[in-house]
């Protein structure tokens, strides 16, 4: 199954609709990393509301997406982690320490907006 990647302004949004195979997840990762460059996006939102299980491979892939897109200039936010999923992830030691997370799509976009503003401000402060 191919996960559609939607372009929304400066951001890319990928909503995972159902449990994915490992190959699908890798396709999603490759697609996002490629399109971030293609559209010069500043942020990525991966919505996993529909997932009620996150295995270690899925978590690692999500973390890879975040790290890879950051290297290409875009922050990634994971949104919509279910309470049960969150707790079982933590039980497994998969805490996504260095990845942004938010409650839902709206929150995720707000988080990206705040991050961008901060970067812009810092840029102005550094300016001549």
């Amino acid at each position: 199954m191919v996960v559609p990647i939607l372009k929304q302004g400066h951001y890319l949004i990928a909503t995972i609709p159902t449990a994915l195979t490992d190959a699908d997840l890798q396709d999603l990762r490759d697609g996002l990393v490629a399109e971030v460059g293609l559209y010069r996006s500043r942020g990525v939102v991966v919505d996993i509301t529909a997932l009620d299980v996150m295995d270690s491979f899925a978590v690692r892939t999500v973390r890879d997406i975040a790290h890879m897109t950051r290297l290409r200039g875009a922050e990634t936010v994971i949104v919509g982690i279910q309470p049960e999923v969150a707790f079982s992830m933590v039980e497994l030691g998969l805490t996504l320490e260095d990845v942004n997370t938010a409650l839902d799509l709206e929150e995720g976009l707000a988080l990206l907006d705040r991050k961008r503003k901060r970067i812009v401000k810092e840029g102005e402060a550094r300016g001549p």
């Binding site: 994971i78 949104v79 982690i81 279910q82 309470p83 049960e84 999923v85 969150a86 707790f87 992830m89 933590v90 039980e91 805490t95 996504l96 997370t101 938010a102 409650l103 839902d104 929150e107 995720g108 988080l111």
Partner: protein, 317 residues
């Protein structure tokens, strides 16, 4: 004596009641006893004997209960009333050999006396006393005939033991049921998740946390975060007297899980003892955001949410 035998069989499920059964002896002899029921015959015979001496034996029993300082939570009259109905139920159980009625009675007795603070040893104690009082009466009656006394005791002892066990088990089960109910009630009461401002939740924890309660807390917190779209959660553990490494680890995991849902957790009110325990356990608490007290925690949370509290200028009068 024979008249009793058939009657007992005819009404095996007589309801437990406190009435002396005086009118029963008048009845009939319809069927003969089945062969080989010598234990039953004996039991019935001695039950009839014990019923005859009911008033005297019961009074002796009550006297001994009071002397032994059992059931101190109850008045003499109450002890007397309970003793009367226990006595009759005891004899019924001896006579019929069925324990259902006695079980039901033991349950209702436990329901009545547990709230009064009656202890397990007291309940077991009075039943054993009754057993003793009745056995002595049998000794007195059959002391002339040693053979007969042996047979009577052979019949009496197992039945009496069964009764004692039934009453004790009934009491303990009732107790455990009460404890279970209370645990459930505490479990439901003890984990309120309170929204205090938009997107700010407070979770005050009071009392000891065990593994089960910790799990329940986490579950409720994560659900509440989702339901209230919370951004900041203040967990206040002022009311927690102590914490072991399991619970501390659980707390850290709760913080991590909340972060995955996009909520920040601030822990407030760590007592000096808990602070020492956590440091001594060598837990990595660097991820945990802690503030001294609940007030500070709420202020910090408001700052994170972008609120600012200002006092209004005094109104001009």
């Amino acid at each position: 004596m024979r008249a009793h035998r058939s009657q007992a069989r005819d009404e095996p499920s007589r309801p437990p009641s406190a009435h002396p059964r005086t009118g029963r002896r008048v009845a009939e002899s319809r069927a003969g006893p089945p062969a080989g029921a010598s234990t039953g015959v004996l039991l019935r015979e001695l039950v009839a004997h014990l019923r005859q001496g009911r008033t005297q034996l019961r009074d002796e029993w009550v006297q001994r209960i009071i002397e032994a300082r059992l059931l101190t939570a109850m008045s003499r009259d109450e002890i007397f009333a309970e003793a009367t109905s226990v006595y009759d139920n005891y004899l019924d159980a001896l006579e019929t050999g069925t324990l259902e009625a006695l079980q039901a009675y033991a349950r209702s007795l436990s329901e009545r006396i547990i709230p009064r603070g009656v202890e397990t040893h007291e309940v077991v104690g009075i039943v054993l006393l009754l057993r003793d009082v009745l056995a002595r009466s049998l000794f007195a009656k059959y002391q002339a005939d040693f053979q007969m006394l042996n047979r009577v005791l052979d019949a009496y002892e197992p039945a009496a033991n069964r009764i004692a066990i039934t009453v004790a088990v009934g009491f303990v089960q009732e107790r455990e049921r009460v404890i279970r109910e209370q645990q459930e009630a505490i479990g439901e009461l003890s984990t309120p998740v309170l929204p205090v401002r938009e997107r700010l939740l407070i979770l005050p924890i009071i009392g000891l946390i065990d593994a089960q309660r910790a799990r329940q807390l986490t579950e409720q917190l994560l659900r509440a975060v989702r339901a209230n779209r919370a951004k900041v959660v203040v967990i206040d553990i002022t009311g927690v007297p102590a914490m072991d490494s399991n619970v501390a680890n659980h707390l850290v995991r709760t913080v991590d899980a909340s972060r995955l849902l996009g909520a920040m957790v601030i822990v407030t009110g760590l007592s000096p003892e808990i602070a020492q325990t956590l440091v001594k356990l060598g837990l990595d608490l660097s991820k945990m955001n802690t503030v001294g007290d609940l007030q500070g925690g709420i202020e910090e949370a408001e700052r994170l949410l972008g609120y600012q509290v200002v006092s209004l200028p005094e109104e001009k009068s």
